[in-house]
Symmetry: C2
Subunit: 509 residues, 2 copies
Amino acid sequence: MRTAAAVVLCSHWKCGRILRRWRSSASCTALCVPKFLTSPARVLCLCPKDSTVSPEPSLPKILETRHKPLLKTPKGMNDVEPWNVALRQRILSTIIACFERHGGQRMDTSTLERRDVLTERYGDESKLMYHLEDQGGERLSLRYDLTVPFARYLAMYNPGRLRRYQLGAVYRREQPSASNARLRQFMQADFDIAGNFTPMGPEAECVRIMHEIFSELSLGDFVIKVSDRRLLQAIVALYGQPSNTHCGVCATIDKLQKNGWPAVKEELVQRHGMPSDSADRLGEMIIQKGGEEVLQKLIVDPNLQGEKAQKSIHDLQLLFSYLRILGVSNKVKLDLSLARGVDYYTGVVFEAEISDSRDKVGSVAGGGRYDDLVAELHPKGKQYPCVGLSIGVDRLVMLAAQVEPVMLQKSITEVVVASAEKGFLEERMHLLAHLWDSGIKAEMMWDKDPSLLRQLQWCEKHGVPLVVIIGSREQATGVVGLRNIALRHQEDVPLVDIVAEVKKRLQQT
Amino acid sequence: MRTAAAVVLCSHWKCGRILRRWRSSASCTALCVPKFLTSPARVLCLCPKDSTVSPEPSLPKILETRHKPLLKTPKGMNDVEPWNVALRQRILSTIIACFERHGGQRMDTSTLERRDVLTERYGDESKLMYHLEDQGGERLSLRYDLTVPFARYLAMYNPGRLRRYQLGAVYRREQPSASNARLRQFMQADFDIAGNFTPMGPEAECVRIMHEIFSELSLGDFVIKVSDRRLLQAIVALYGQPSNTHCGVCATIDKLQKNGWPAVKEELVQRHGMPSDSADRLGEMIIQKGGEEVLQKLIVDPNLQGEKAQKSIHDLQLLFSYLRILGVSNKVKLDLSLARGVDYYTGVVFEAEISDSRDKVGSVAGGGRYDDLVAELHPKGKQYPCVGLSIGVDRLVMLAAQVEPVMLQKSITEVVVASAEKGFLEERMHLLAHLWDSGIKAEMMWDKDPSLLRQLQWCEKHGVPLVVIIGSREQATGVVGLRNIALRHQEDVPLVDIVAEVKKRLQQT
């Protein structure tokens, strides 16, 4: 009998105190309840070296008191159940078809990025990033959007002109409130055009892409708001703000729709040090919205005669003329309070909003031009002009779930192979393999003796259209029963014809 | 002129020392080189409150000496470029079609899980898990596989019998070596059957699913190895190992193919305290492999007459008979050294290997029965028998890239709208919008004055089949040129017929 002298340590990372020492051949177990825990921690037993066997100390073994984990998904993250996947797939296929109609090539990047690639790209929002623990090696974070990873890709590989699209989850430590069910993991669908092109061409195409997708999805009335960071910054500069604060001020202005003017004004005054009356005049300036007539007013505004502002207004006029040619100007609106939250935008920005069945308006897509982002990451600062858009897929799924009735747990199986009496397991398996070989979506209940009634009820509940039934009568006469669940109609079909018959019935349903 | 007294702190989390204090109206910047860093750290400037403007201390602002991040993807994680996506999509569609043929319902879980759900499920391998930093709130980790999240889902929702499939990335901190390009983020495709069924039925279906997929993909000759944890544990028990070490011993045995017998024997002796001659006899036992004849030998082995071993051997015999009925026994082989690394398997385990074009064999899928996993997570220990398989999608993509020639950067665009002379930007846009409206995958170069030669060369390089050409001659006569790039053949088509003509040509190519 081997004896073991064991030091038992609490394995909780904040605790780690020695609980007891003892000599025993029994497996050692102990319990520690550090004050900061609501449930007892697991315990780590450091076994001593067995000098007769092992020259080195043996590895620590965890002999824990099996405590159950708290059974939930992480805050703000949901399981996507089958009915939700089906809805999501339909929305994604519309988006993908549109992206590919516009020559998009699909790409993917890893969920994780080196932290230094991500920090400093998002301004204030970067505090919402998820960081990974330092486990040795690189410091990593979860991607916050798909745009910075794409810029990192462009800086690394310099692939020339590129239209790429990407679908993937992004991660933000948002604070969910009672009123908004903000997710902390959500899917974005991004389309970007990278390269040097004629002004406003790629911007117009991005707006057209959003217009095509939201028209086709028919989830509610939508509007695409357009603005320009350069114009907004020229306006902000009118009120004495130094240029290095412009990104921060833009991020503040962007909260106008969400938080309202009083909150925005307070932030402008308190945080950015803007005098109260300047903030008010800024407020009057940025609530301007409408069509091209607003641009005509702005272009003659004596305060906006600087080169940057004039260029920006001219570009917006050009954009509107292109949108008319592309047939999508009907849904587009100039909105000077649109700024977009993150730091990297440098020109035109846009955002699409859909009004849902309860007339609540929500942002479902956004984007803009970010000409300097690649240069920020490139070792030699290579300029790589880009414009792109992100679609919030989860919001669209939520909207779609409101619009259309949801089929819960509907099976995609076409045929169930059932038996009319006990046994017939192997006969069902033979038949099932035959159906699979012919590409039919088939299933059987892997029970030894399922009752026929139970098998039929299961099909009814899960919406399986056809059942093939085998039993001793059928086996003797070389036929099988073929039952249409909806019609409750059953007939005998020769076993040799069963695949052809099933395919014929499936085409009819 | 405002003056600012600034404290400049190194922003590196390990450093944080005060670098200097000064008063200056210029933007403050400083550089810190902590010893543990190879490149200078960014610097954080804590600006003092400006009492004339802001009553509270203003927020810290980062005024960094713009250091470029190291431009690379995280270790063991790759960008998936367009050609790779295309290959991957083709493989995924084969897998999805098979999973749906077997009644699988698609599901998804979040990439992150609460850490207490994941720890203790993987035995030794859990040291490879990625943990998230403690940023307040829950302690999270990246999922290590798709099986434990599925078990967590079953324990939470108790959905009854379920066949689900899931595609998603999993994360493991593997050590890549020169010889193996192990990825740290890779995609798994999982199919699982949850619920209580007749013995070996679902196991047989899982093996059939792997057989269907690897037959259809035709990436090389494959074999499906089958074993049973219960049998292996009965064998291990013969050599005096206490039952709580069986999982660890199984994990060691599983390394046989990768590390060879001497390494496995050393681990058995050094770590699990097995006498050297026992280890040798165990080694002779587990190298047995073959077909049903091995089972016939085992069932009469005087050492394996215990209830557990006999049940396991009988089950394996039943499995082989089912596999014969399902027509897939030709590729299945019993291999007692197959144990699978993770702790949660409780019965039959399987693993598929493909020999590639250079005759190197690699594991591409695996799985087995895990009857206790849900109970470990469920608060009341509810039993939920499950069996399932995981396919390593990235390995299949690598194999496929060896087998078939890869089309680099081929565009999916069907038509490019080009102009024969300078300008014609708006005319091209009109035509482009018309093609998009008709669902044609169309593109134009967003240049003001692209040369026709450059536009045609671009199409040739990227494999775009058709070009529509517009210029002043075409505009005057109401026609456009329609050019087939491969044939270098061009003809005039009336503008009103262009959509119909393009569609006709696309069907021909």
